[in-house]
Assembly symmetry: D3
Homo-oligomer: 320 residues x 6
């Protein structure tokens, strides 16, 4: 058998893709980026929270909050508290680790190393606050579920709602994320929010303040901004946006973070599918906003807004 | 080494978050809810169908329906029937268990315990009906895939369509879910529908009746309601809603379940992206509904509706 | 114990669902379909690329491109290159297999068997091209991330952007998918695109050409067509469509594939949520397209388009 | 490209191994066996306990018995009882299922179907007995561990002993298996014993009665028979056999099951490596049996037996 | 915060172990070895059969051979053949790959590359032979199981024997391994044998020829050599060796491979625990070999050998 | 339906096993044990090394040491160093964590808490020493493998030896365990030794000093004690014991740990199956020890010892 033949067989069966060259070029690209971002001096450490870890934590918290419906198949009342205690403990232990990663990351990025002990004290404090809030959070979710059950004529039971409705999945994630946001671990909060976004197409910023009895039907395409404030018993449908009024605008390009820039929606408001509500305006108590309408002005309590209304409003605006 | 120092190390390395207190409070919250919902006397049993189990069942059914394209990589025609028979059997066995869980749950919630034997007889009956329907369901899906292939100029082959298109994923789930809905296990049906919703952003209620050759392109944001009736060879695009006309409304707040409240879409209709069709109206055979239009009245066969039309229509309505 | 009793117990505990009959009918349905599709003579082989395999490949490539942020938790700079080289190698090895599956499939469907050796040569060539492009692809993504960080007042760091933003997830997938599309493995490209679509609700056809610094905010419902061309530093928001103008249309029903039929968006354009841009039109450099507008004509550079504009435009069109 | 060439490629890439023929022949072989074993009429049901399930049950029971040493890494005293309760519950629930499988299997093989309800009552009774015995079983194991720690000069701590020693692994398995044996689920008992045998090379029949403070060092090759009775504080080394005296024998070939046929080893005996003790003899309290000796006669309390002794004994026997 | 302090924290939290240096030294060590073994020129390819793959293959073959006892829990007679066909197909497909790896490896080591096509033809041939042998192999195993059931007074049913007995596990592995050995894939055969060895402590070389009705009790420490020949209905106990007589020896150090060097054990022989039988001697039909005896000479049919006999025999030998 | 009937169904379908009572009793048993062992005051923390973690570490180290034979299937020389570097890094990172657990545990048990920083410094030092030793360890293993290949006429290649032989598996584990033993993490060392023991039936204490070219054939039942010293090119067979001479003995019961109490075996010794060598004796260079012999006295270099010899020796002893 000729050497050429052998070498040909070898070349095909032992593929080679100049790995060394590509690894080197990728390193060069990374180094360029690090220089440009002023990160060349950072200790070489990957210590960022993990999306996968938070997914498991949320799953465990769901089980601990609703053991008989989101817990394991075999659960019985006799073993309920053991399951809750054990699962909660596992979730909090993992969350503690993620909190430390975020605090450490924050310290590192801000060039101010935090001492191991201080880090532990602070992260433990966060976990304790978080844990203490869970029972009240469960009560709030009970009201949300009840609202979804009452709000949807197709729902057969509260259990179906909890098991199936993407809006409920989204609000469970949001209430957990919002608590993390309040406890000043915004990166964890954001990851939890994005987990819900990916699962449901519902994008609620963890900063949004949302009252009890909140119901989202269908939900795909819903966007709720960071400084939105939503009252009690509010219902919204798919593709509703509660956004910032960014167009037209005459402000400077550098929008200040933290500025209240999203709508206030008062108690008992209903917003139908596709409606867009922009800017720090208020939708008054009990108003009904029709599908696909576009609102950038305050709406008094008890209003009923449909496309016809807004078209007129727009016409008037055009006339002005 | 001082005791204090030791104890300090211990406190940080052995974190404590008052688990007993939180577990107790969570139990209190659960008990409150159970009292309020009249569930305090229920046998303490978590027996609800499982989303994870249904995900696996649907995956297996997809393999059994399309073995050479959604089955395992190594399949050959010689082993096709073995794979189909084995996988189908596994899927049906698991489904049988889920059906029993739903029937049991239903009996429990309605306070009318069902005898073990009756439960088995009934659930076996459901599985047999379901299994018998699969070959026809496959034929229908073949027509759907053919329609998607013809309907999209970018499609290279029917295999690509089956492998990649979210609309196809959604319609496979729907046809399975609809069969479960017909067999009166609505909770399982709903879970299957929500699996598709989460994967594709397409939200089809399992109750919707959909003819052969149905094609959804892109699909994110599509919502199709429980009593919608869709003919043959209908195409719809992303963000189309076939919903209930809930606004404006003068009916009583307590909408009766089961009432036909969603549109009838006749054969060969095309509905472009973002269109909203509301209420028990009929879109006549062969009509074309333009992007973003808003329709709440019957549309005669062969109509072509664009935004301009609807605006005029709205203007007329306003004029009236 | 009576035989009847035994047999009754047996019937319930050993369920039977006429598996043979259903397996046979499913085979009949498959055979019908194969006859109709002219596939009866094909060698019985399931050799299609696998969605699961590509998901893992993309995950590994993400780690190899951004080791310190998307790689494993324990990574340190000392081990960075080893991780990159090893993970890249694993990803490319798997991708090589998927490329072979697509080439083989293509050859089979087109009834022109490819020799094992030619197949290996061609697929190796593709992998090498793909690998060589990765460092530049990483640089482009750095610009995208920077753009997202600057474009969103709520972003705290580039790391948060990379870790959390669905728009970033979508553009990473797209840049990989586009490279596969250029290397003529369109099925793989499409699967990668659909992975992103499922995760984020953002649907970008792998054929679309997109410049550096591309930013998508929120993203659910975004659709970008195959022949779209997007310049540098373009920003778009949720539910934006860059589609083909299919309505009204006077072309023949048989739209030719490959025809440029989607918009050209020039540098520095911003398109707000819900806007629909249809047909081979050009949005001029620096234009701002308002939320929910509907555009089917060229827009000159520097334009600012809001709903009021388009309504007038539509009115004029109606007047004509 | 010639048809032959295509077909050749196909034959190699679509291998065929006459699956139908082999499946049929395997069925024929099974049917023959069923006929021969009188099982042709049995309901076609695979319902046997599962080795994998029992492995997980034993693992969980180990964690529940020794939470701080064999439980999860993150355990703290605060969460100990939750872990124990939850894990015990999971193990018992799984064990209940395995017990039902054995009872059902036993009923089926003996052609006497058991009613669902009776089965549940009986299996629940077994689980309750088993669970009740666990605290005492833990106390006994504490004495065993203490004995191992004291008996081996190389042991550094009781924790090391529990974590590492195969003898301890074997005795934990045995005490669980023996309890199952007493509760009359001998198949489960045997499977647990074989799990230990596979892990450690120590083969203790679940029927053997073993007192507290039992210590096995090294252990590979140890065999202890079904009717062996072992006192308190006994130590044995690798390759010791406590077997039945089957050679020479003048009994009938059909040895009656249940007959006491293995040795009685009284308190405080030590048996060194490789010793063989056969038949229903008694090794008296405090005796020391040397390595490799072969004993088939009673040994009085306080004896010290070495190879020299036994050789003499044998010589005498020969002389007789 | 001082730079030193920062750097100290960094050094501890970003450990460094001179990875580059160790990787380089490991490469040097590998290169030395390759030079010494004349392997420096080999194509750099890891293509060896995989122990994990073979473990799965054996598991699947066990299920296919004994579906109702080693197959999945839910199996019913209705689905039996589907399970068998599907599982067998999966096992054979994987085995085909392993066979190719061994043939390829053999070709590579012997410096004689085999063409892809020839390799496929040969490996397919092996798989077909192997598959064809399975039904007969099952029949043989039925006889083995029957023998174990009859041979052990403690066995309650043939199912228990199949499920629990390490001797049965060992003989199933051996019969599969021996078939692979006959088909000239000795490396695969050896790996299968070692899987059994690790699980049971029973070490049977795949070359050994073993008749029907073979029973090993307890089994730990059994060693059976490559050229051993064992008749029908033979029983052996733990720690029995059927080995080569290597001591004392006057042959040259370079023992020729393939030479018959292990015992022939004729039909109906029983060999008790710890007996050592060495060299190409014959144990005549129906003989009984006592525990711990040491045999290096032929034993006539019907002999009963005990320690006393062999001692005398040894004495005579010394006398000579 | 009567309440009784309902309650009966409930009692069976919602089993109850007085979990609270058993959990409480288990806690009582644990507390008793803690009091008795003087551990009542310990911080409640489970921080012991993990067997599962060490199993993964050893698996990774095997891959890093022999990448082309024990690494992943797809490895090529191009990617070898990346694989080695990445896998080694993963193994060392995990090992670092296990070392910290052992050091921490040691400190806790000895009631002398170690500061976080000191712990890190010490464990890093250990890991660096361990890593540095790996290249030499690989060279030593190459000699072992060569010895096994030469020593067994049945071996076809060095690759087969590495892949299949339990003796090689045992010596790889031992050389790693011995290094850990030297670095004073005896608990980790012991766990690694027990992993090998469980897999192979070969029990080598990590303290034993073993020269290059060590070969164990078959291996089940081999026991090598802590202070054994073995020269170069030694071969031993199954069931060989190199133990402490504990019988008869006139020393005090409290044997001092660390005392040299196991044999010294000089270069080029062969010890056949079942031989027992006890006490701090020396087997002289080049000696051959026959099967099943029992040795408790020094053996001069070049001796050949068979059962006959020892019997005589014993007889003389008896005569004395």
């Amino acid at each position: 058998m000729s050497d050429n033949f052998v070498s040909e067989i070898t070349q095909l069966s032992v593929p080679n893709w100049e790995l060394d060259k590509i690894v080197l070029e990728l390193r060069t690209a990374r180094n360029e980026w690090r220089r440009q971002s002023g990160r060349a001096k950072e200790p070489g450490l990957r210590e960022l929270p993990s999306r996968d870890a938070l997914q498991q934590i949320v799953r465990d918290l769901c089980g601990a909050l609703f053991p008989m419906r989101l817990g394991p198949q075999e659960l019985r009342q006799e073993s309920e508290d053991y399951y809750v205690g054990h699962t909660l403990d596992a979730a909090l232990t993992q969350l503690l680790q993620q909190v430390q990663l975020e605090l450490n990351y924050f310290a590192r990025v801000n060039n101010f190393p935090i001492e191991e002990k201080a880090l532990k004290v602070q992260s433990l404090h966060i976990i304790r606050q978080f844990a203490t809030a869970l029972p009240e959070l469960r009560r709030t979710l009970d009201v949300d579920i009840q609202a979804a059950y009452k709000g949807d004529p197709a729902a057969h039971s509260v259990d179906e709602v909890l098991l199936c409705y993407p809006g409920i999945l989204a609000i469970i994630h949001h209430r957990l994320a919002h608590k993390l946001y309040q406890l000043e671990v915004p990166l964890l909060a954001r990851i939890v929010a994005e987990l819900a976004h990916s699962l449901t197409g519902i994008d609620i910023h963890p900063g949004a303040e949302i009252g009890r009895g909140f119901f989202i039907d269908h939900g795909t395409g819903v966007v709720i901004g960071e400084t939105a404030v939503i009252g009690e018993r509010v219902s919204i449908y798919q593709a509703v946006t509660l956004g910032a009024k960014t167009f037209p605008t005459d402000e400077s390009g550098a929008l200040k973070k933290g500025l209240a820039r999203h709508p206030i929606v008062e108690d008992d408001v209903v917003i139908y599918a596709g409606a867009t509500v922009l800017g720090r305006i208020t939708i008054g108590k009990g108003s009904i906003i029709g599908g696909n309408v576009w609102i950038t002005r305050n709406v008094p309590a008890g209003s009923v807004i449909s496309q016809a209304n807004t078209r007129l409003e727009a016409a008037e605006a055009e006339g002005a």
